[in-house]
């Protein structure tokens, strides 16, 4: 397969078989993923142009949790690269007939699959599949653990708008405890030299993050004026027995990004949200749709990042 000129400088620099997390990647590997994603954006008219660099390759979306944007984004990324895509949902699969997860994955793999994109509610499931399968595995979110492509697209968005990450202060606000997006962002941002703050109610933001060099705050107003970027995480109502805060009203009062808080923030603050967003909970509509918001840029960058990951794990990878 001929490699297009714009990808030539990146070919053979990636060595890993899978993309399971950002914690285990080096800053060079993260930068390479971002650079390739940027190159796709610039050379294919914001990822509109269809390529044929992965023609003959097959990608499977094996999703055990509901997903709209991530699944669509991975499908589109594979198709834009010329690969075939198979969609696989837990409900339609033989898992409901009692087959083990691993047997299902092995069955799918024996259909000559090159890339398996997996989302599961349990941390570590993509890693377990990677250890037992021959194809490349991309983690599309494993419970609260990691969501590496989401982390990458968030970081790419910041880089596009604010340049080099080194020295920037990025705050993740909300439910850190249950957020895979938070974890992938933390590792990726730290490796590129950013200062990371996690902020939210003490029941959802553990002091333990300080041991990893992350600043921990429970007071959004106190950190606001130092932040270059705010990433507002969705509150996950579905995962907990005893609610970690008394009411949505109280949460919004303490942590929602609204017009009043915007006035206290840096004039060039960047507002991000991994979505789906709860308007009126973590972010008010006028902020979500306001001039500082780059939420829709994030979605577009998702496509570029996933194209980059798929290419690097397949044609772009260094020969073994």
């Amino acid at each position: 397969m001929e490699t297009p000129g714009f990808l030539e400088p990146f070919k053979g620099r990636w060595t890993k078989r899978h993309l399971l997390d950002l914690e285990s990647l080096t800053s060079d590997e993260i930068t390479l993923l971002l650079d390739v994603a940027q190159a796709f954006k610039e050379s294919t008219n914001d990822c509109r142009k269809k390529l044929s660099i992965l023609t003959g390759r097959t990608s499977v979306n094996l999703f055990f949790e509901d997903s709209t944007r991530t699944r669509t984004s991975f499908s589109l990324a594979a198709r834009r690269l010329g690969a075939d895509v198979i969609e696989f949902s837990a409900s339609s699969s033989s898992l409901s007939k009692g087959e083990t997860l691993l047997d299902t994955a092995k069955t799918i793999q024996s259909m000559c699959i090159d890339t398996l994109v997996c989302r599961h509610k349990a941390p570590g499931t993509p890693q377990m599949l990677a250890e037992n399968l021959d194809c490349a595995v991309i983690n599309a979110g494993d419970g609260p653990h990691e969501h590496p492509t989401q982390g990458l697209l968030d970081i790419l968005t910041i880089r596009q708008h604010r340049g080099d990450l080194a020295g920037k202060t990025v705050a993740m606000v909300g439910d850190i405890a249950h957020s895979r997006t938070a974890r992938s962002n933390i590792w990726g941002l730290q490796k590129l030299g950013a200062h990371v703050i996690v902020c939210g109610p003490s029941t959802l933001v553990s002091r333990r993050w300080e041991e990893y060099g992350v600043e921990v705050s429970h007071d959004l107003d106190a950190i606001l004026e130092r932040c270059d970027v705010l990433n507002l995480l969705r509150i996950q109502f579905e995962r907990q027995y005893t609610r970690p805060f008394p009411s949505v009203r109280e949460y919004a009062l303490l942590y929602a990004m609204d017009r009043k808080r915007m006035e206290k923030a840096k004039p060039d603050i960047l507002i991000m949200a991994p979505g789906p967003i709860n308007r009126g909970v973590e972010i008010t509509p006028e902020v979500a749709d306001g001039e500082h918001s780059v939420i829709l840029h994030q979605v577009n960058n998702g496509l570029a990042v996933r194209m980059a990951a798929m290419w690097l794990l397949n044609e772009g990878r260094a020969p073994e």
Binding site: T100, P123, G124, Q127, Y212
Partner: protein, 427 residues
């Protein structure tokens, strides 16, 4: 008269404070003396360089038959026990139906005697149907042969039930074995609550879920004057509470699972479902506190916590996988490798914890080499290095995270009632 002489071994018997290189004579299935020099024996076992100890007793073995024979039968558990050096096991019901009737106790006993491997002592449920609501028929179960009462992995949550059970079992002189866990603090948990669980996003099982419940259990025990044994403790907080209670003379004892000393919660980074354990692998500070507690006698017993689960049950997402690992065949090797060889505890302490003290807790005439007792003897080679191999497991299940690892120290001969039931011939 059949006579066997075990020669030149290091005979360790904590019940008599014996620890010296000498001979042990077995006659007609009973211990006939230490330091015996005699000819005219039918069989001589050379134990040079080996330990000769009272047969090991595993106080915490999950039994899966009836109901879950795909995991383990009573026969296979008893067979695995022998390979691990255990001559007796306390069989705790994780069965369906649970062991809460005389018939179930009798069945367990019959399966064990038909298997004719090691001694199997039935532990019956504390609560009817293992539901944690009403007391099981403890008197009837006692008459049928139950030596202790436990709901196994299910902690007795209802404090009134625990109080009643501790009072009622007093009449029969039987202990209640309870695993302390306040499930409201640990539900859906997968691993120890710490920095590792924070990073991995795995639901936490905080140490306080254990020590808060241990404190409650101990106070109820103290108030009733009953006999309580805390199964599978793992936290520094529990150890502290336990130590203070013992100083006050409360009738409480405790055991810990051997795996607890081998790995920390850092091992969870591999997301191995065989490491999903309850109690979970703890952090170093908790492990160190437990080692200290073992040394000063606060923790009485080391058990295997044997929890066989067939491989398909563990071939799933970690959140859905059942807890537990097989332990009978690796417990002694883990203890030798991780406690004795690094110098944390000596062999007499280990033999006390894996035999003599377990017998005391269970109230059985075992765990000793005194004249006239059943000749249950384990011969241990403390220097033997071996690799844990799936193919060698006698257990029907092989859900062990230690498969492929090297351990030093193992049982090389297991003698039950004077008869050699297991001999390790490899290597």
């Amino acid at each position: 008269m059949l006579r066997t002489l075990i020669q030149n071994g290091r005979v360790i018997d904590p019940s008599q404070n014996v620890d010296r290189v000498t001979n042990l004579l077995i006659e007609e299935g009973r211990i006939a003396g230490i330091d015996v020099v005699t000819d005219g024996v039918d069989k001589v076992i050379d134990a040079s360089g080996k330990l000769v100890v009272p047969g090991l007793i595993d106080l915490h073995v999950q039994i899966r038959e009836p109901g879950f024979e795909e995991d383990e039968t009573i026969e296979s558990a008893a067979c695995a026990a022998l390979a691990g050096g255990f001559t007796s096991i306390a069989a705790i019901s994780e069965t369906n139906p649970p062991v809460d009737s005389a018939a179930a106790v009798t069945y367990l006993g019959r399966q064990a005697s038909e298997a004719d491997h090691c001694n199997v002592f039935p532990v019956a449920c504390v609560s009817s149907g293992r539901q944690g609501e009403e007391m099981a028929e403890i008197g009837i179960l006692n008459n049928a042969g139950a030596i202790a009462f436990s709901d196994g992995q299910r902690p007795v949550s209802n404090p009134e039930l625990l109080r009643r059970a501790l009072e009622y079992t007093l009449m029969f002189g039987r202990p209640v074995l309870n695993r302390p866990e306040m499930v409201e603090l640990s539900r859906d948990g997968v691993m120890h609550d710490g920095t590792v669980s924070t990073v991995l996003g795995l639901a936490p099982m905080p140490a306080e879920a254990e020590d808060v419940m241990a404190a409650r259990d101990i106070r109820i025990c103290e108030a009733t004057g009953g006999r309580l044994h805390l199964l599978a403790i793992s936290c520094s907080g529990t150890v502290e509470i336990l130590r203070r209670a013992k100083e006050r003379g409360v009738g409480v004892s405790a055991s810990i699972c051997a795996y607890q000393f081998a790995l920390t919660d850092e091992a969870m980074r591999g997301f191995d479902t065989n490491l999903k354990l309850n109690p979970p692998l703890r952090s170093r500070d908790h492990i160190d506190a437990c080692i200290e507690a073992l040394k000063d006698g606060t923790i009485d017993v080391i058990a295997s916590g044997h929890a066989p689960r067939s491989s398909e049950k563990k071939m799933c997402a970690i959140t859905e996988a059942p807890f537990g690992m097989v332990g009978l065949e690796t417990a002694l090797g883990l203890v030798s490798t991780h406690l004795v060889r690094p110098g944390h505890v000596d062999w007499p302490t280990v033999i006390g914890a894996m035999s003599t003290n377990a017998a005391k807790v269970l109230g059985i005439e075992k765990g000793t080499l005194q004249l006239g007792v059943d000749a249950d003897v384990t011969i241990i080679d403390p220097e033997r290095t071996w690799t844990v191999d799936k193919a060698d497991f006698r257990s029907l299940s092989n859900n062990s995270p230690f498969v492929g690892t090297k351990l030093t120290g193992r049982a090389v001969e297991t003698i039950v009632g004077g008869i050699t039931k297991f001999r390790y011939d490899q290597g």
